[in-house]
Symmetry: D2
Subunit: 394 residues, 4 copies
Amino acid sequence: MSFKASVKEPVITLSAGPVAAYPSILQALSRPVQYDYDPWFQEFYEAVARKCARAMRVKEPALILHCEPAPGIEATAASLIGPEDTVLNLASGVYGKGFGYWSARYHKDMVEIEVPYNEAISPKAVAAAFKKNPGIKIVSLVHHDTPSGTINPAREIGKIVRDNNALLIVDAVSSFGGMDIHPDDCFADVFITGPGKCLGGAPGLTVMAVSDRAWKHIEKNPKAPFASALSLKDWKDAWSRKKPFPFTPSVAEVNGLDAALDQYLDEGPEKVWHRHALTARATRAGIRAMGLELWAKSEAIASPTCTAVRVPKGLKDTDIIAAARAEYGVVLSTGRNDTLGKLIRIGHMGPVAEPIYAVVAVTAFGGALRKLGRRVDIGAGVEAATRVIAKGKA
Amino acid sequence: MSFKASVKEPVITLSAGPVAAYPSILQALSRPVQYDYDPWFQEFYEAVARKCARAMRVKEPALILHCEPAPGIEATAASLIGPEDTVLNLASGVYGKGFGYWSARYHKDMVEIEVPYNEAISPKAVAAAFKKNPGIKIVSLVHHDTPSGTINPAREIGKIVRDNNALLIVDAVSSFGGMDIHPDDCFADVFITGPGKCLGGAPGLTVMAVSDRAWKHIEKNPKAPFASALSLKDWKDAWSRKKPFPFTPSVAEVNGLDAALDQYLDEGPEKVWHRHALTARATRAGIRAMGLELWAKSEAIASPTCTAVRVPKGLKDTDIIAAARAEYGVVLSTGRNDTLGKLIRIGHMGPVAEPIYAVVAVTAFGGALRKLGRRVDIGAGVEAATRVIAKGKA
Amino acid sequence: MSFKASVKEPVITLSAGPVAAYPSILQALSRPVQYDYDPWFQEFYEAVARKCARAMRVKEPALILHCEPAPGIEATAASLIGPEDTVLNLASGVYGKGFGYWSARYHKDMVEIEVPYNEAISPKAVAAAFKKNPGIKIVSLVHHDTPSGTINPAREIGKIVRDNNALLIVDAVSSFGGMDIHPDDCFADVFITGPGKCLGGAPGLTVMAVSDRAWKHIEKNPKAPFASALSLKDWKDAWSRKKPFPFTPSVAEVNGLDAALDQYLDEGPEKVWHRHALTARATRAGIRAMGLELWAKSEAIASPTCTAVRVPKGLKDTDIIAAARAEYGVVLSTGRNDTLGKLIRIGHMGPVAEPIYAVVAVTAFGGALRKLGRRVDIGAGVEAATRVIAKGKA
Amino acid sequence: MSFKASVKEPVITLSAGPVAAYPSILQALSRPVQYDYDPWFQEFYEAVARKCARAMRVKEPALILHCEPAPGIEATAASLIGPEDTVLNLASGVYGKGFGYWSARYHKDMVEIEVPYNEAISPKAVAAAFKKNPGIKIVSLVHHDTPSGTINPAREIGKIVRDNNALLIVDAVSSFGGMDIHPDDCFADVFITGPGKCLGGAPGLTVMAVSDRAWKHIEKNPKAPFASALSLKDWKDAWSRKKPFPFTPSVAEVNGLDAALDQYLDEGPEKVWHRHALTARATRAGIRAMGLELWAKSEAIASPTCTAVRVPKGLKDTDIIAAARAEYGVVLSTGRNDTLGKLIRIGHMGPVAEPIYAVVAVTAFGGALRKLGRRVDIGAGVEAATRVIAKGKA
């Protein structure tokens, strides 16, 4: 690499994503770039789409969009939400809120349930919304609102949505692969994830499971984009080795996705989820033992894939992050938009969803505070984390 | 890789793109995936945007979109073309024609110059169009219409466009990096390319040079997308290490782009263009010596980065391609849409823009025809190719 | 890479080895370097040793030495040949002859059968040698004497050696993996190969199958090295996950070897041999059609993994090689020692053991001669090669 | 990778080597394998040999042997020590002691200074040895006896050796690149290191600086090996692009070495040493704060690249290592031979020579003891470590 930076590369990245990739995925990214119309690649692509489906525990090969999930979610809004649709938008954080803006470009009207960004959506409120607005056709839920590090009860909400015969979009970008959530678990009609978070891959793709009900709705949507970056339809059949691609797929990213799925399936999803959860639990214990406050209102809704910590009064988030980076080479994340400045996020995704990184996180966080002049008992933090780990490993 | 295909991976890929990537780029794709908000990555990203600019010989850091060029061009249409704009669309091939459909979503009206898809746009016709339609505000030109393998006179056309005070979009996706073309050469206001063709990288990014005049027009366009996959504005300042990314950049692709630019600049652009041109010339000589017909009406407009060969009467393009693949493991490309079935394309892009691959192409093409029962003098083809090479190397 | 060379990297390498590695092996070389005493690595190492055995079609896990085969063969001489041993050295080329010098450091005496370096050892001569020297204890045979590109009849010779109750060393470095030869086929007691030739891997390891008979002889050899680079004994049990390594294994090379074996076994040995043989046959046809002379006295003994071509009178080998490199970026090999200056070698090993590379070789060779002022009918050469390929693929 | 292990791959490797490699080196290992006789590779190899010299701060291009350092040291003994030579062997650990056994194969006689394996050689003792044995011709010193984690005063000893006109062999395998030691600093005539320890590369090569005086001695040694794995002479001039290789170099390892040197030189040696030393210091503080005992008799001789900790009474080393591996996925090393069972080693080499890994080490070590039933104050350990780091970073 000819580039020489003025700062050192990080030592350990505990970001909320993009996350450090597994070695097997980095190797896969360096596979030859094959021609998309060659029969080998067409067969490979189909196999990857099918492997996505196996990981998501659905039958139909996945829909892969060749962009990272943010535009993938935008495309979902554009494709699914028609001019006659009433949308119920569930906003427990920045990403949930943000979906409403995209929705507004396409829907007839929108009902929104918004809760403070350290709380979760209540299934009861969803049920009540349906009662009040029987015309709701589409519901959008962010399972893990990453900028808050909180989890919504997708299963319960999904059940209600299905019972009310509406379509459910679930953004599971930063939860799938790190915890037990799949499209059918939560009655999702469009389930959106990607390789760059808990699967420990590179960002650059959107992986989706789209139900037949959703496809039918898209077909009927007169405004659903085609020949467009915002189109789901264009790619509907592209998984098939016999069908052309609407435009060039990101070959290297598909190579990486293939390896990300192997990594996940070969280790065993249950084992992967367990180490995500254990790392998060240990981190939370350590953070609290240092006298810091978790952002999530209750541990029950704290994400197993990302721990949000309230910024101590009198300190700036960016100073803490800079101090952890300078002292330990450890990368942490700030909040986003409304949570920016209020919290710091510690990612537990992919290869760093391992208990030892809870210790790393606690130390780097505590060390940063100390560097900024605060008295922090890092030892107590690490002790607490290790005790959780010892129990979790027993 | 756990995937086992029913067909062998190709031996040599001479496609029209995605192309085989240089080894240095494959290695770069396996660099660690860094967190986009980390200062190291922000500095790196800026350096890559500046390096793009150096390669394109412009001053401003490049605009990088995190999708392959097709949606990148769509985004250009969406961002640049406003509801008051008259567009002159220049169509000498499938991609040129296609731009008109995107334009139609945004423009007030459109003038189109269309020529047979084995010919080039005449600058005179462009001048005449301006005379007849002085209101033309935006002109779109595909420099190398890949599905035809033909080159348009971008410099001459660009001069006319600029003299008429209109804005010029140049799709140089499959010409930049393989021949002498840069934004300022052709007065392009939006110059679009990507790493996956002549730069020999992976597909998955769009690299653009956008003039101040174009940015001003975008700013004034009331319909220019924002917070969208179709937005150029979102990414305008993202190159700066001090500015946030609107959504997650494709980190691995940026790593690859960095190496693609090093590969190009370190070898020396003039040397790179020379081997593209020589390989194409040798290929054309070999193809003709076997009694086959080039698609391009004249060699003068045949692309130095891709040779299109007319499908011999009585044969099917896909049969020829399958035969070359089966007999030699060599990958060739069909046409697209209107040129589909009529021609076969031999790519000379990136690492296979080396004279020996002209011999490979001629042999694989000739061998395929022979396998399909035609009498072909492969020896004559190779002889002709080698004589061109010997002269070109002298 | 910070290194900037004064010459370009080659375009295509058709050397006699080290050869271009398969992409899957390059990827494997970039796997994490694991600690040799970690249980994961110990288990992995054992699996690789067993996979070597599967490829060599023997039962016992292979002996892996952490050096390329030349010192591996020296270690074999040092370990196996004791001060009371009479050795029969079979020399049909530079490597065969060379073994005698190593042998001389350890043996009591040596009988040598030497034939011109473009001929093969006759089994009859071996039988006669035993008759004349019933005390022969150890026989050394180079299966493919790479500097000559010729193959010895290992099966027939091996049978005679076994019948005479002697021990047989077979150097199959550049034949195993590219043709049908395995330890038991030829009654080898020490069968030596490596990943850097027909397996298309990196050089840097020696892979051996050692029979119980050979181990017993080594055990009895009072001079057999231990705690030494020349020791086979040190590594005898190192394949076992339960046994320590005498010194640090070359972890990255073991990673590469693992992938090389997968590449070979997954494709299927018979298919691999077939494409080696077909490429060699096509190359020979092409070379002869250009009026050039093969080095091997008869095609029957010409190696399917390397074609040696006599240097045309009046020309220098190095000039031909430099011309092929300059004109086409194609790498060929000279001879070694006694064959140096007399022949040029075209390797057909690993990823370039594909018929299209016969065309590449013929063209580059012919083009080089033409550049040096000779009249050569490259077309005829390529025609001849393609006809062989067409038949072989039919 | 088709291999599925019964144990998980490690999470973090803190071994005494082979160590985890830097990402840049893993990428370099996947560079194309070039033919060793191609002019590009010959030029590259020379550049790497020169870059080694730059790193070692000597003038002559380095001698590279294509084996890991243990056989490289054996080759040094074989090449340098002649049948008339009296050797002074300095043994402060297992490796120092071991050299004596190799020496015994070649020397006339040997004087040995042996100290307990947790102490360092005293320069005074060396001076006294020379006084008593003026015929000493060759002295062998292990700078960092890795199985003890202790450093010998190489500068002082080297001065005495040079003053006494003897030749000095310095094994700096696990110190060079991690602390301030170079051939000329310590008057080494043969200075031996490799890429697989502090340079954070793969094992598989030996890198040496050999003085003119040493070469002269080798030239005069009638028993110096040639055409052998034990020969230094064979490779003396192989660095030159104009000279042939005696046997095939390990191309992939040379690619890796090139990147290892870039990594070291680009970061800046002083910075690299500093982080090694700081990590070691923090580790020692943490270990002691948990009430554990360092192996080294004094911190002054404790290596900055590896911390040896005495195994607590009543516990088994392998149990501790297994517990750290099971609980945290952290890899530690046992001792070797005479130190086996007595100590545990924590490596600080290459990419893990970063302060945060001191915390990882302390936690994993403490956690392991706790798992084995001991009461350990991990918090106190981490506190102590972080305080050292905070000071060191200030």
